[in-house]
Subunit: 338 residues, 4 copies
């Protein structure tokens, strides 16, 4: 890190800062400018050290230089990671579209969903058994019964399943029902105890971006999982909160190339929650693939109008098939397949 | 709710929407305008119903009318709630300043902190035993050992304690050590399982606003706690994420009068996390009281420069005492005491 | 518009609101619900009328229904508009990439720029003679001398020119030098006097989105130009301000399909100002085309490292050529050409 | 500024950067760390220089150190500036509340407004003759006729007038009618030609913050005015755009202490546009004064419900008088008068 002293800092002030740096186990390199002194700090240091130094009255600012993430950083692992999900590669040349309903509702709905997902050419299925809902009066999901329904329907079609974990106490149920990919939702991106627990498994994790998380915070959330031992992490951009009210969220398309540069992990996009309306999904999906995304998480429902939740953003089976065709052309333009 | 049909909707389309409304157990009231038809929906309806209706092709928009929160709404409970914390009232004429360090570090630091908090005239103490940290490489808190240190130090000075709960599995420890006020942090405002669990206790809860939560989402998070049976809820505004980088967060001062109008619950403000720098705390604290806040949550440390975390935003004992004096004048201008 | 009355509104209150509606030349349609009365207002009404009604003490809310824009709305002009720029179509099957330097610097730089732009296969050239700079101490542009240099260089290569107008008093110079497309910059999106003046010409206008303008405000800014008589308007999305600091702005990719649905006008994207770094431009450009954009505005410079402004976001001639090839494949996937 | 090189930068790369620094007329100070080299740049440098250096492939980042503003900075002028407006001081011990209607409507309305403003104890009057309206179909103001009506009404009560200038071509009219304070509105904060023109006069200028302007950009906009020769500048915080939809804008209360520290100029607050509803104005006004604001800009109207614009945010004469009494107590708590 670099410390810029206030313009009126005295030699005594500077010595105090240097002493503090030494106390923290770091070394100082002083550079006296015409207007102010700048102190380079040699050695790692962490967020807490920065705060400590910034709290000194003679310090103007403390500027971190080193990236705070390590395991997930591309600098520490230049090769792109491809994650194996029951034999299906995510992060390689083949793009994966994960589809299915917002909520697990009934066995019939799940079978019809799985059928449509398979039919459209998708290789992985999503569905929510535990539902994070803004209102306590909305449908909260079927819980473990939903997990079973989902597992049964997906098994019929040989589809690995992706579903959201909200509560550490349910992880055992996830393991018992062989959930293939654990999704950490937007509201739990910084639920650090949950991150640590899924980090102790080897199950691939989709880590959705927090509603207003910076990319740096998001990568550090992944670092929590990685630091606990699980390196099978997939970033999922799903739109961030903005001032714009014409759509549900604002899809941050720039996050895709940025993450691909900063980390070695796969990046997928959820166009359904980003836009919030089914008619926006094709354009956002094409854009995501063209920007370099490795996959998509797309909500679909056998009969969208009868969905118990998020009805207006679900694609019908026909719309999902149509989307897969459109995306095929874009994937080809990117030198990839779908 | 109100449904606005597209301008080109046919009578057939309108009948379909009316049928769907009836299927949902609600009633329709049609109002044909010159340009478009508007359908008033009589009966409650919820978020899911709105999504279902919005998913119909002939529907332009669905506009909710009723407020989605009930128990915490002032309309359902016009009288202002005063919460009793071990005999100390929060939400009444007397303003409460809750102070203490970011992290519980050592028994000595906690005793010195408690001494300074008491000496300054505060009646409640804060401190973090479990720490939500952006980086896995920052100090994560002492956990249950920290709880004990905190409890011991506060008991010497007769100060009720406020501390953050991050993980449902730790709630038993909180009950065992008689935590007087449970804090739900910014990152867990929509950790619904955690909200439900603290809702099953009767312990007062400080519910911090999510980093980019709308006031409506925040009130609904409180409704989760209330719906589980615990009505002792205190809102804590702590700044929201914005485009401005000159301060840590943007204190949303308008949330104070808005919450006081919409709900019957107390509202406090955390000026330390809002501004991020100790020198900003006095101005933000005065503004909060002048806007109608019932209390403050202020970080202080016996020796800020030696704090293990958030050093640059902690007040020294002298600064805390000085703040209490300044606030006394503002409280008086508001017809209150401190 | 629709008026929702407060739950405690009396019959007297309702009559007062109805009287006010009549005074404004509109008609009321009362719908008494179980909890509250809703009043539909028949007739147009405008923003000021909404404010007036919302100011009545018994009114809970006023909800506009009709779209506030007319001439530029697709509902009033279902056919997609193709704008003719000196024989080059913008908005049709052929995608246009407009390129050139941030600032007009020297005749040599402009000639080299024009050569590179033409060579890469672009059909239109951009360049700034009048520069809106955040600091008064940054290069402010050559002004009318810059216009001349630009015109001369572009003429050699038969390229129509796009350049920014900041001050109404310079419009005569723009007309005199036959500027082919007038750009209204981000900071002037709501400079209404400027919009009215360019609205009196027939010169095509690129209207950049304000740094934090909603899509609705942006469309209304276009409506200002259209209402003054000039319908040759091109929307340009260039990223909006957000909390994210890893890139210069956040490209709002969703704005593209949204604008294409709401209006009949062409939409282009400026990936250079959106990302702020040259290395991000290809990914953002591909995404924009895949989302349905009709063109791009891309900064390039003969020697980026010697650019007088925005050096880090300019493409070199080789990078521009490479970009055009990549985009060709994406355009093809969209059934378009470039 | 400080340059951080990429970790893989070679000695050749470093030499290239040093050469470029020398070419720009600056000097380099190399500091080789264990992981990367850091180059301190001695000498001023500006935004363009930063961009140039950041465009070099071996450069990781360029970090500005010096503040980009000079004349308005407190470091260059430690004493607080008090601006004299026809004998009324703004920025000193006495707080100024500037009030009046959104729009100049009729001579009768202006006389009644002036009467109410004077009666409430305010010493300055506001009113809009030229109106920046989001929609071209809203009332656009009476223009120069409005200026005359305003001047006449204010003269009867000896009130200096504050009114908004939108178009450089109208500045002569402002001078002719002796406008006492020129307001630069939110949408024109970065209309640099307008800033330069008002900078050539000596008339005090209220510079409203852009809807999503950072404090740094805002101060630089003031620097434009100052650099043209006019140092009579008053900052006006009026709320910024945010994700929150419950209020019109989000009042950034933290900007007040921040600006008071960074600059020597007065800061006022517009609570009317910030909140957007008359009932929020008292709480926001009290908070502004308690945070250290030197004044307020408050919309009032003889009969709010009949206002031609912004009706729901205008205070009635009785509410304005009541506000002045409330503020008197808060001013006293701050050691000031009103």
């Amino acid at each position: 890190m670099i410390i810029t002293m206030k313009t009126n800092a005295s030699e005594h002030d500077i010595n105090n800062v240097v002493d503090k740096i030494n106390t923290l186990g770091l070394k100082a390199h002083i550079s006296a400018g015409t207007q102010r002194t700048i102190i380079g700090v040699i050695g790692e240091g962490n967020h807490d050290h920065q705060h400590t130094l910034r709290s000194m009255a003679s310090v103007e600012n403390v500027i971190p230089i080193a990236k705070p993430y390590k395991i997930v950083a591309r600098t520490s692992h230049p090769q792109t990671t491809i994650i194996d999900i029951k034999g299906i590669p995510l992060g390689g040349e083949q793009i994966q579209v994960i589809s299915g309903p917002c909520s697990v509702e009934t066995p019939e709905q799940m079978t019809a969903s799985a059928d449509a997902v398979k039919e459209a050419g998708c290789r992985l299925m999503r569905g929510g058994a535990y539902k994070p809902r803004t209102s306590p009066y909305s449908f909260q999901g079927h819980g473990v019964d939903g997990l079973k329904m989902f597992r049964d329907a997906a098994n019929q079609y040989g589809l690995p399943i992706v579903t959201e974990l909200m509560d550490v106490r349910e992880l055992d149920n996830f393991m018992k029902h062989n959930v293939d990919v654990i999704q950490i939702g937007t509201r739990n991106m910084q639920n650090f105890d949950l991150l640590k627990e899924v980090g102790k498994t080897k199950v691939p994790v989709i880590l959705k971006r927090g509603i207003a998380a910076t990319v740096k915070e998001w990568i550090l959330a992944a670092e929590y999982i990685a630091a606990s031992g699980n390196h099978n992490i997939i970033f999922c951009e799903r739109g961030v909160r903005s001032f714009e009210t014409a759509y549900r969220n604002m899809l941050d398309i720039t996050a895709i190339p940025y993450l691909k540069q900063e980390t070695h992990l796969p990046v997928i996009v959820d166009p359904s929650h980003a836009g919030g309306y089914a008619w926006m999904v094709p354009a956002l999906s094409r854009a995501a693939i063209a920007a370099g995304a490795d996959g998509l998480l797309v909500e679909s429902h056998p009969i969208p109008n009868e969905a118990w939740s998020d009805a207006e953003q679900a694609l019908s089976p026909a719309e999902l098939s149509q989307l897969m065709q459109e995306l095929s052309a874009v994937a080809q333009a990117m030198g990839r397949t779908i």
